[in-house]
């Protein structure tokens, strides 16, 4: 297969902090260094972009020396955490911003969809916006005219097509905007996570359309999403970005597996109490093989290892965990009587496990407590341990963005009449 995108030694530096005072002097120093043929004094190559750590300079490399090729007809999922460099890569590929070093070579027409409805004007009607948006995305007027009926049909907002889009519901807006993009005639299509909005039915329709694009028409698609289910369904290749570098470039299943394993060290998965007077000494989140990590597949169990000190007076107390979802709702609480674990004071380690296929994909945090029920709270460790249940191809991807609760219940359904 022919290569359609070739990325070589691509890096992108960003300046941190405020741009304003001092810009002129620094610009001058930079200019001065360049005219003497020296290196940019503010660009220290080699520093890793890790937002959780304090760096030396105020320049970070959002992408660091990236190399990859993409072949015609591939559907490539670009996966990575927030800040891994996905958006930067897409911005450079879409020519919104230029790289700091390196180059990208592209064969064929490229269209990017970093946002649906770019350039929509609220005062213009749906039809007028189709033309405007199409033209912004690089279509000629005649081309849009030819496809107008199909676009309107795909959007399903025919009744409102001569109404200004400011009167549209947000769902209709997205439908119309995606419909325009779906009919782009480019050889390469770049799609950012734009499907997070819109209703489930339409999301499915879009995913189907995108599947057609890559499989049926031999087009190349680059797709960025946090939604592993959608990536698994659409893509055959995956590129995983981590701190601005390529962590893995391979087939999509390998990619998704690797994704759930990385970044564990950046998330708070371990807690060490610096003042272990009261009880808790150490807490960690673990997977099935006792490895500490933060990301778990829906079909994996999640364990918490707790080491704590039990004083004689607290032997009749409880140790408990409380799990919260990202909306700060308490999902459940689990408690254990300490005297059922040990019968004399001392240091113990316990492991509590949440069974697999219980928590639906999403972010969770856990708090830990030692207490004498209804008498005294000995210690609460809150807001230090986080974990995430990651979508790995279950049916939940369709519900991305919708709040459908955090517990999966395998209910019994049967026909009674």
């Amino acid at each position: 297969m022919a290569k359609v995108i070739k990325v070589e030694n691509l890096s992108k530096a960003y300046r941190l902090g405020e741009i304003g005072t001092g810009t002129i002097t620094k610009d001058w120093e930079r200019f001065w260094a360049k005219t003497r043929g020296k290196e940019d004094p503010f660009l220290k190559i080699g520093e890793v972009n890790d937002r959780t750590k304090k760096g030396q300079s105020n320049v970070v490399l959002s992408l660091k020396d990236i190399n990859f090729d993409i072949e015609q007809g591939d559907a490539v999922g670009i996966i990575g955490r927030n800040g891994a460099g996905k958006s930067t890569l897409l911005k450079i590929l879409s020519r919104v911003t230029a790289p700091t070093t390196g180059s990208i070579k592209i064969k064929g027409r490229i269209a990017s969809l970093l946002e649906v409805g770019t350039g929509f004007h609220p005062e213009l009607t749906g039809k007028e916006n189709i033309f405007l948006n199409g033209a912004i995305l690089g279509m000629r007027k005649a081309e849009i005219k030819r496809k107008l009926d199909e676009i309107i049909d795909f959007s399903g907002v025919e009744r409102y097509i001569d109404t200004p889009v400011k009167r549209y519901s947000s769902g209709m807006y997205v439908r119309l905007a995606f419909a325009v993009a779906a009919y782009l005639e480019s050889e390469i299509l770049i799609v950012d996570e734009v499907l997070a909005v819109g209703d489930a039915e339409f999301q499915k329709k879009c995913l189907g359309k995108m599947g057609d694009i890559s499989k049926g028409q031999g087009r190349t698609v680059l797709f960025v999403s946090h939604n592993m289910g959608a990536i698994k369904k659409l893509c055959n290749q995956a590129i995983i970005l981590n701190n601005g570098s390529i962590h893995l470039n391979g087939n999509v299943n390998e990619g998704i597996n690797a994704y759930t394993k990385i970044h564990t060290e950046n998330k708070s998965t371990r807690y060490k109490n610096n003042n272990p007077e009261k009880g808790f000494m150490e807490i960690a989140v673990e997977g099935e093989n006792s490895e500490v990590r933060s990301d778990f597949g829906f079909d994996e169990s999640i364990s918490f290892r707790m080491r704590f000190n039990v004083k004689q007076a607290y032997l009749s107390g409880n140790v408990g965990i409380k799990v919260w979802d990202n909306l700060e709702r308490c999902v459940f609480t689990s408690e254990m009587k300490i005297n059922e674990l040990i019968d004399s004071a001392g240091e113990i380690t316990t492991l509590v496990t949440i069974p697999e296929m219980l928590l639906t994909p999403g972010d969770y945090k856990v708090s830990f407590a030692l207490h004498l029920p209804n008498i005294q709270i000995i210690e609460v460790i809150a807001d230090v341990i986080y974990f995430e249940v990651v979508e790995t191809g279950s049916d939940f991807y369709e519900f991305n963005g919708a709040d459908l609760g955090c517990i999966f219940v395998n209910c019994q359904w049967k026909l009674v009449n």
């Binding site: 810009t23 919104v96 911003t97 592209i106 490229i110 990017s112 350039g119 007028e128 405007l132």
Partner: protein, 286 residues
């Protein structure tokens, strides 16, 4: 296969060559230009009662005020022309230039939402500004011609000359000058916002250095030491020629027009180069 040269349609590199103006790209997106102009026009009069009539109101009232303040109160010469006609000629021409300049100068900051999300040749946007303003200018010219006819009927003393034929060239010069200066400023405002504060009052100051409210002949007579300040301003000879063409009064030479043309082309070229240079990375600093 070993020797087959690889062919690529697009190459994305840190910097473009300085003189790659990407005009071919601009041509491909010409439909977008038309649609943007349409959008600006529609968005301007939607939900207003008077609609395009607003284009008339502003120059009309400015003329009335100028006639009163600079004419009746300050008694500044109007080259022997009817004052309202004299001022309206200056205002109409100046407004077109000033609108082009101020609107172009905010292209990057005003459209950053769009520019951050999708690529198209950025030059399309300032060009659409120039064309949008042309509609407005057209309406204001209509007002000017209407006034001329009214004064003609009253038997006022003015005589259009053959230089009226230079009108399209003058219009082009004003557009190019506004575009060029606007693009230079817009490129600089992406980093240094100070300039956007400077521009509104800078344009106002520049108007007083141009022969909008006084004729060049008065400056030559009364302030020969400062005459160069006004005369070297490229807008001066454009407006003087404009007045001479339509009203038969104005001080300019073919040489001064030629110099203006030269300066304008230079500014426009610098503008496009600076603009193209900034458009690649402005998203990071805006």
């Amino acid at each position: 296969m070993h020797y087959m040269a690889e062919e690529w349609d697009i190459e994305i590199t840190p910097r473009n060559s300085l003189f790659d103006l990407k005009l071919k790209d601009v041509w491909h997106y010409r439909d977008l230009l038309v649609l943007l102009v349409r959008r600006d026009f529609v968005a301007f009069y939607k939900q207003t009662i008077l609609g395009p009539l607003w284009f008339f109101i502003q120059p009309l009232f400015t003329t009335i005020i100028y006639t009163f303040v600079f004419g009746s109160l300050a008694n500044i010469s109007a080259d022997g022309l009817p004052r309202p006609l004299f001022y309206l000629a200056g205002i109409t021409a100046w407004n077109y230039f000033a609108d082009c300049l101020t609107k172009t100068s905010t292209v990057f900051t005003a459209n950053s939402g769009l520019f951050e999300k999708v690529y198209f040749p950025r030059l399309i946007v300032p060009l659409s500004v120039i064309v949008s303003n042309l509609i407005r200018f057209g309406v204001q010219m209509l007002l000017f011609v209407l006034m001329m006819l009214i004064y003609w009927g009253k038997g006022a003393a003015f005589h259009p000359t053959i230089y009226i034929l230079l009108f399209p060239a003058l219009l082009l010069l004003m557009a190019m000058l506004g575009l060029g200066l606007g693009m230079i400023i817009s490129a600089m405002t992406t980093k240094y916002r100070d300039l956007s504060f400077l521009i509104t009052f800078g344009v106002q100051l520049m108007m007083y250095l141009t022969t909008v409210i006084y004729p060049l002949s008065t400056v030559k007579q009364k302030y020969p030491t400062y005459e160069w300040l006004v005369e070297y301003n490229p807008m001066t000879s454009i407006i003087e020629c404009f007045r001479y063409g339509f009203l038969g009064q104005g001080t300019f030479t073919m040489l001064s027009l030629a110099v203006t043309t030269g300066i304008t082309i230079l500014i426009l070229l610098v503008g496009i180069i600076v603009f193209n240079r900034v458009e690649k990375n402005f998203v990071d600093t805006v």
